[in-house]
Structure formats: structure tokens, C-alpha cells
Symmetry: C2
Subunit: 331 residues, 2 copies
Amino acid sequence: MNRVILLKKRPVGKPTLHDFEFTSAAIPVPLTGHVLLKTLYVSVDPYLRGRMNDSKSYIPPFEIGKPIQSGIIATVIDSKQTEFRKGDFVSGILDWKEYQVSDGNGLTKVDPKASPLSSYLGILGMTGLTAFLGLTEIGVPEKGETLVVSGAAGAVGSVVGQIGKIMGCHVVGITGTDVKAGLLKSKFKFDHAINYKTSPDLKEAVRKSCPGGVDIYFDNVGGEISDAVLANINKYARLPVCGAISQYNDMKTPVGPRVQPILLTKSATMRGFIVSDFSAKFPAAIKQLAVWLREGKLTYVETIVEGFENIPQAFLDLFDGKNEGKMIVKI
Amino acid sequence: MNRVILLKKRPVGKPTLHDFEFTSAAIPVPLTGHVLLKTLYVSVDPYLRGRMNDSKSYIPPFEIGKPIQSGIIATVIDSKQTEFRKGDFVSGILDWKEYQVSDGNGLTKVDPKASPLSSYLGILGMTGLTAFLGLTEIGVPEKGETLVVSGAAGAVGSVVGQIGKIMGCHVVGITGTDVKAGLLKSKFKFDHAINYKTSPDLKEAVRKSCPGGVDIYFDNVGGEISDAVLANINKYARLPVCGAISQYNDMKTPVGPRVQPILLTKSATMRGFIVSDFSAKFPAAIKQLAVWLREGKLTYVETIVEGFENIPQAFLDLFDGKNEGKMIVKI
């Protein structure tokens, strides 16, 4: 049997299990030039929420009744071509299916001897690239500057903070539980960690933990957390906008303090991005990340959920902050 | 007699004449190394409102009981130094006084034979520099792109639009009266002009006048006008934030739709600036502006008010959009 997960209907506000549909299909047979893949690890990511809406975004929306797609690590179990052979491991944006065929387009070979397979969905995949390129291309950290990261214990945030430390920044992370705050300091070596849920005055908490003001704000969450950081930015601050998880499920246009007056008085730059904006720099970035990983300068955590049937719930759990680091489903 | 205008108290909300105080002093005598200046033209600018607040901004606040300062053209009527001689014309950030002494620091000689004296406060001064450098350094216009300018009939806006045309852009201006909208098209050669006060749906009006979407939004005003433009930006849009005149007199933090989700889905860049951020590029920029002016590719309008006693009212009139182009007081 080959289980498949479809988008049943477009979520209204926060997604629920009812928005997904499980179905099954035959295991396909690869034609000439194709490979048959068996799914091993599935990445669930906040950005997928955007693709569930019927609106133009940076990538086309998922279609109702069609499989959802995300980053997947698979193994080649049958091959009718020469580039990818039986036994190879690959990563790619693939369907939420246990088995699928591919013409090889968009697949990248990954090496389980060099790094654990799941890491190619995280620190050596889109997560690591997003953190590295968003921080270095937009944040442009300089030694001695102060970097604040929101969603800091998440997959991207935890890498951003570590790279900030490697580059000599004072690094402050904002997260939503004391356990995660502890993890930021103990495992990821952030200088300070703020639990926004227990801070009576977040603006003041940011001010205290950033005595020199905020030079770079790597924004994964948006909303009121970002308002508190913006109130503390320095002249010429850079603000990469990587995500807005606090707003993805909003049903009305979110409102908040206007940012233009702050950007104006601070000559500050706020720039949204998606990792593919920097695709020309992927090979060099992956090389650098792998070096730091090997040298022990970078570390990562994963929240691994087991079972194909648990993919939708793992995705939903992202919006309740149930993951530490990268959320991955092992099949 | 030497009339002087002081900041009497910090305005609460919209400034009034009661926030200013007229006083008089003796005409000073220049010491060795100094010059005595007679004020000829005074620039009044929206950004001065920010300096009237007691808050840290890009330049220090005016002090209560001290003269207000702005861009001024003066003539040297007595000189005890060699760089600036009697009869020279100079521009600089000077006090709102009929006569004042200076050590020459910050003064620039201007040539009334090359261009009218008042133009050195506008198109060949801070106004022209702000327009040129904000547009070229942050907007980075490319031929065929669409540029939207708010506050388009103002001093900076009218120059931005013309430079956009020189650079091959489709240029749309937003302004607040039909007369100004007419001026944008007839005198400044904008492709379209929108009167936001008579547009029932500004977002739709921008959409219609920008069939290819908005690549650059040069923002002088902030607020709901900017919301309408942001709803129409293209992927990789650039948004120089030059001013926020609609918010300068707000007594509470202005709120509006959050921009981060839009910047994120469009990989767009919003950047605040003040012209001095680009001071290294002033000489080249002034040279280019002078060439365009001489070639007839650039034109400008001024609203000239006469009389030292009318400086405060001319400043207040900016917030009611009573100026077309640069607002200047002739003494």
C-alpha cells in the first residue's frame, strides 16, 4: 500500500486535521528515465501554511485534492536511469506519499556517512541555508554588533543565533518557554534568552538584554514580539524578515504600530526574503555550514515524530511551538 | 533691529503659531575669523517637525528658548576672514535670524549667476539630493519599471518623479488636489497622477495606473496612502522611506496593517533614510542635478512666501499641503 496525504480543504485560520485527507494508491512503477523513491524523512515547516491559501505568494498554492509537498529525504528503491541508482539517498521537494516516482529533476544526492540523513532537511538543507543567507546577505553582521532573533529555538532561529556568535555578535534570542530559553543558552550559546510569554514588558526586556541597542533583528514571528524589538533598534539597523508565524493563521489583516516612522528615524532596512532569492549562493553556503558543523561550531536539535500518519499533526504542532529546533517526521 | 524666531514650547500634535516666539537682538559684530550674514531665503521643511519634539532622532532636538534652524541662503555683509568675502552668497543650516555671525563652518558658496539663489535650497540643495540619492541608492530604478511617488507635488516628490522619467520608468504620483495632479502631468511629465482625496478606492486607483505592478515606492507621507501602494508591490520591490508627513503630528503611535507579511511574500525592501546617509555622494549628485537642470530635463516649482514674520506660518502650511514644490520664505 502507498499512503498519500492530500489537501482536503483550505484552512480557515488555524489549520486542523480536518483540512487533510489520507488516501492510498498503488505503488507506481518507474518508466525509463525515472526512479522510484521511498520516503524516509518529511520536513514540516511553517511556510507551508501560506501554500494552503488560495493566494498568490512566492510559490504557487497547493491544490485541493492534490498531495501536499515539502522537503523530503528518500531512498531510491528502483531506478530506470543512471544519475540516481538503487540505494542512493536523495533530498527534494516531494509529495507527502510513502512511494513516488521522479524523473530526477530537483533531486540532490545526500550522503548519510557525512551527516545524518535528517540533517539534510535542517542544518544542511533549507533551514541552514535560510539562516545563513538571511543573516549574512541581509543582516550583514559585524563583530561586536547585537543580533536579536525571534522564534529563536526554532529550526532557523537556533542556527541564526549560532552563526551570529561565530561572527562575533552579542546574540539575544526570544522564545516561548523556559525550557527553550534554557536550551538557547546552554546548547546554542546565546548570550541572553527571553521568554516572551513570561516577560511583563518585552520592550524593556529587550532593552535590558541589549545594552548597546539592536543592530540586526532576524524576524521569524512578526506581531507584537517584533514591535518590542523595533522599539530598540539602532541607527542603520538591518531587519531580515524570514517568517511571520504569529500571523500565518490570522483571518483578518493584522494591524500594529506602523514601522515607517521608526525605519525613517533610524535609517533602518527591513527586507523580506525567501531562501531561493539567494540560490546562486547555495553551494558556498552549504560548504561553510558543513565546515562549521564538522568543527563543532554549529549544533542542532531536531524534534522527530515517527509515522507517516502523524505528518499533519506534526505540522499543526509548529503553531503551538511544540518543536525544539527542526520538526521532522520519520517514516 | 535683528529679528529672531525661537521655539517657545514643544508642539503637542499639530504645531501652531503659539509654539513660536519672536524676539529681537542687536546685530552682532563678527570677530576675527568670522563673517556677518544677512538672511535672504529660508527653507521650511516637514522634517523640522521632528526636531521640535524632545526625542532622540537622527538630529538633536531644537531647544526651547533657542532659535530654530533650517536651510538658509545668506549674503556676507562683513567678513573678518578670507574664505568668505563681503558680497559672497552662501548656503548652510543657520538660525532663523535676520542677521547672524558664523565661523564659516558648514557654509557653502553658491553662485546666483549659475542658478537662482532659492534653487540652492531646493533642486540644487537638500531637496534635490534627497530625491536623487533616495531614488538611485535605495530605489535603484531600472528602465521599464514602475515608480510610485507619494507627496508627489512636494519639493522632493516632484524631483523624484522627474528623475524616474529620465531613467525610463513609468511614473505615477499621488497628491492631494486636482491642481497638483494637473501640475504633475503637465509640468513634471508624470505618466499618471492620483488625487487621493477624491479617489474612492486608492488601492484600486494605484492598481489601475500601474498595470505592471509597483517596483519602487518612494514614500514621503506614510499612513493609508502607503497602505494602498503596498498592496500593489511586485516581487523584489524597493521602498525608500523618505518622510511620513501624515504622521508627524500624531500624538499616539500610529497603527495600520502590518507590512512584514507583504515584504515577506514579495521579497521586498523597505528602507528609511536621511539625505546625510549618502553625504559621500553629494558632490557627484549635485553635478548631475545641475546638468539635468541646464539641459532642461529637470524643472521645479517653488512656493515663495515673503517676509521674515511669515516663516512660522509657511512651516505650518506644509502640513495642510498648501505648497506646490519647495516652500521658501524670502526675507
